[in-house]
């Protein structure tokens, strides 16, 4: 058993590398990062400014050989000269900002002074043109823009969690954005998974043990209907229902925090958050819940018909013992493996749900990044959610070994 888990763990770094490779291939696809004139469409259509495009192209090292781009992006290799330049740019930009602040102060003083003089002029000397304020030196402006681009290019590469800066939101790092969105999505998906398993197991068991009764048949039909309902449609219908309900019955359907969350005590806050989460969680889990219940029913039926359950009955075990001790654990084996298959769907499905319910999670972040062509954020999201899913699959693999004693011997040989 331990060898099996150890093997899976040892595979992890390799898989993460594979994930980065696939993510990188998606970057290559992106119009802004392939070819020389790439991304000009984005600029022309007004989705990106020239400067933002440049930041992105520098982040993904457009123009270099592909294998070097990959290694630079990972942070395994670093263009030495550039490295020094970037640090210099950051230092310079800090200097420029300081200078700007200083200049702004001076300009403000100057403006006040001039206004005073003008006032004096007007009152004392009659109308006289005040000297126009000095226009900024165009050469200096250009270099500052270049410096700004340099300063927003990541220093170390994504293996060190340095994904660079957001292309469209200035002076916010990608990592910062993900750090804000990740807990929301994780918490929601955790709740969803728990709800799915807690409700689908009893439903499946009940259906299987009452096979062909009315309650089994109606549950089966209901689950089938649920499985086929598009989640975004259901979400909108729920919102429509909430709109038509009276105030005291209405559940909130925007965001996850109530207004004025900062001042609330813990318990009321929790209650309010629960109410906020009710609709999105319901919308996200019913489909998988239906699927899992159906699987659970089928799996349970399979197990109930098996010989060892008959043996347990022949021993004199009572029906509840037979079902919950002998049959349940065996029927869980295929269900546990489904967890791994569920996760990518949940993380991806949350794009729609989070957009509809305005939940500031990874899906919402990704959706906005797609709309604004925030490529750096997109790539980071890709890598992060894939690695998260990988971890989830690892967990389900470990659970699988825990449930089924046979596996370690079959594969560990």
């Amino acid at each position: 058993m331990t060898t099996y888990i150890l093997k899976r763990l040892l595979l992890m770094p390799l898989m993460v590398l594979g994930i980065t490779l696939v993510s990188f291939c998606v970057i290559i696809l992106a119009p802004g990062t392939s070819g020389k004139g790439g991304g000009s469409g984005d600029v022309r259509s007004g989705k990106l400014t020239q400067q933002q495009l440049e930041v992105m192209q520098r982040t993904f090292h457009v123009g270099k050989p592909i294998y070097l781009r990959y290694l630079y992006w990972l942070g395994v290799l670093q263009p030495e000269a550039t490295q020094a330049e970037l640090v210099e740019a950051r230092r310079k930009l800090a200097g420029v900002r300081e200078q700007e602040a200083f200049l702004e102060d001076r300009v403000e003083d100057e403006r006040r002074y001039r206004a005073y003089v003008a006032h004096l002029d007007r009152t004392l000397l009659g109308s006289r043109d005040p000297a126009s304020p000095a226009t900024p030196d165009p050469d200096l402006q250009k270099t500052i823009e270049e410096i700004e681009v340099d300063a927003r290019v990541p220093l170390r590469g994504m293996l060190f969690l340095d994904f660079g800066m957001s292309v469209t939101t200035t002076s916010v790092s990608v990592w910062q954005k993900i750090k804000e969105a990740l807990p929301v999505t994780l918490a929601m998906n955790l709740i969803v998974v728990i709800v799915i398993y807690l409700s689908s197991l009893p439903i499946g068991i009940h259906s299987a043990t009452h096979q062909n009764t009315f309650s089994d048949k109606s549950t089966t039909v209901l689950l089938f209907v649920l499985y086929s309902l598009p989640s975004f449609w259901v979400s909108i219908l729920m919102i429509k229902l909430m709109v038509s309900l009276p105030d005291y019955l209405r559940l909130p359907f925007q965001g996850i925090f109530p207004a004025g969350a900062e001042e609330m005590a813990t318990l009321p806050l929790l209650w309010a958050c629960t109410k906020h989460l009710a609709l999105p969680v319901a919308a996200q889990c019913y489909g998988s819940l239906a699927l899992l219940s159906r699987f659970m029913r089928a799996s349970m039926l399979d197990v109930i018909r098996s010989d060892f359950v008959r043996t347990a009955r022949a021993k004199g075990c009572r029906e509840t013992t037979v079902i919950y001790r002998h049959a349940l654990r065996n029927s869980l084996i295929p269900i546990v493996t489904l967890l791994g298959g569920l996760l990518p769907g949940l993380l991806g499905g949350s794009v729609i749900i989070e957009t509809i319910f305005g939940i500031p999670g990874m899906g919402y972040l990704g959706y906005n990044a797609v709309l604004t062509r925030d490529y750096t954020v997109l790539m980071a999201l890709f890598t992060a959610s894939a690695v998260l899913t990988l971890l989830g699959i690892l967990v389900s693999d470990i659970l699988y070994v825990l449930v089924d004693p046979r596996i370690s011997f079959e594969k560990g040989r």
């Binding site: 062909n212 098996s306 010989d307 060892f308 008959r310 043996t311 347990a312 009955r313 022949a314 021993k315 004199g316 075990c317 009572r318 029906e319 013992t321 002998h326 654990r329 065996n330 084996i333 449930v403 089924d404 004693p405 046979r406 011997f409």
Partner: protein, 352 residues
């Protein structure tokens, strides 16, 4: 034997009918069978697959899924108690405790996710609630030892997939006997095993039967096993008992044409030396349980069929508690078989 004194029987099955209600109609899988087993006796039920042997045994244990299956009539008296009337809850007290059962496929008869020890100990604790863990463990080791499992204490922690088929069947026997039941139902206990293992398991069963004065209901299609183990034999065909009696009697004087067919379909010892002798086959197959008529059910396959066979023959006694349900059992049946047997295998064929 005990046929004359049914009150002394441990288990007495009277006119048992088990029907399945399916979409294709009512399947009369077991259709009015009567037999009894005395304490310490071994009774074999023989027949082709689809004859209702397994359904009979599962009916006694009430292990059939009850919505499709139904015990339409009959009584199953165990120690004077009618099992048909018992509810599932009371039946749980009987299963494993008074009547135990082992199955055909030891590969799948053990729960793959629990250790051998867990499963054997459970069989004990189910009927002795409140037993300390220690005691249940020791009893389990003892039971495993008694069925000939080497190093039982170490085997307790193993999972079923780590054991061979023969070992698994031994574990099943240990599990069945740990509460010292009075009756053991063995449903084709050796069919899924290698020939050498088969012999070991049979020997073990005979041993245990003698030691514990265990009544054994042996369900099998293997006449060799029957000849070796059973004192009495019932031959089943299409849900009915067509012939019953002492094993020796049936082997030396089969009355029913079906029994005769079974005997001929069996390779006789030494027959291979003759070379030219071929195994006789009973033409056709057992009709589906939904298609049973009210005539003699063997009629379509019977070499001796005649007009009278359109009526169902009663189970008649032909002396020495040897009964058969055939209109022509006495004269033609026996004589014809004797002639055929004499012609094909001049010597040694009757040496059962």
């Amino acid at each position: 034997m005990s046929d004359t004194q049914p009150n002394g029987a441990l288990l007495q099955v009277n006119d048992l009918r088990t029907h399945f209600h399916t979409d294709a109609g009512v399947a009369r899988a077991v259709d009015g069978i009567t037999f009894q087993i005395a304490e310490g006796e071994c009774l074999a039920i023989v027949g082709e697959s689809g004859c209702g042997k397994s359904v009979t045994s599962l009916s006694i244990m009430k292990l059939l899924p009850m919505p499709p299956a139904r015990i339409a009539s009959g009584r199953i008296l165990f120690n004077g108690r009618d099992l048909v009337d018992l509810g599932q809850e009371e039946m749980c007290g009987v299963r494993g405790n008074d009547i135990a059962m082992i199955f055909q496929e030891p590969q799948s008869a053990l729960n793959p996710v629990f250790t051998i020890g867990d499963q054997v100990a459970e069989a004990y604790t189910v009927h002795h609630p409140g037993t300390p863990m220690r005691e249940a463990y020791e009893r389990s080791v003892e039971a495993l030892k008694s069925v000939g499992i080497p190093d039982p204490a170490r085997r307790m922690g193993d999972y079923p997939h780590q054991l061979s088929g023969g070992m698994k069947q031994r574990v099943c026997i240990a599990m069945a006997l740990i509460c010292s039941p009075k009756l053991l139902i063995a449903d084709e206990p050796t069919t899924a095993l290698d020939v050498t293992i088969q012999a070991q398991i049979l020997e073990l069963l005979m041993d245990l039967q003698r030691k514990h004065r265990l009544a054994l209901l042996l369900i099998t299609h293997d006449l060799g096993v029957v000849a070796e183990m059973a004192q009495r034999t019932c031959v089943m065909y299409a849900g009915k008992i067509v012939e019953s009696g002492a094993t020796r009697e049936i082997f030396s004087r089969p009355l029913h044409p079906y029994t005769q067919g079974l005997m001929r379909a069996r390779p006789a010892p030494g027959s291979s030396q003759h070379g030219r002798q071929r195994l006789a086959v009973i033409p056709g197959r057992v009709p589906a349980a939904t298609q049973f008529q009210d005539d003699c059910r063997f009629r379509p396959r019977c070499p001796l069929a005649q007009e009278k066979c359109a009526q169902e023959p009663p189970l008649e006694d032909y002396g020495a508690a040897h009964r058969a349900a055939c209109w022509c059992a006495k004269r033609e049946g026996y004589d014809a078989w004797k002639d055929a047997a004499a012609a094909s295998a001049p010597k040694g064929a009757s040496g059962a």
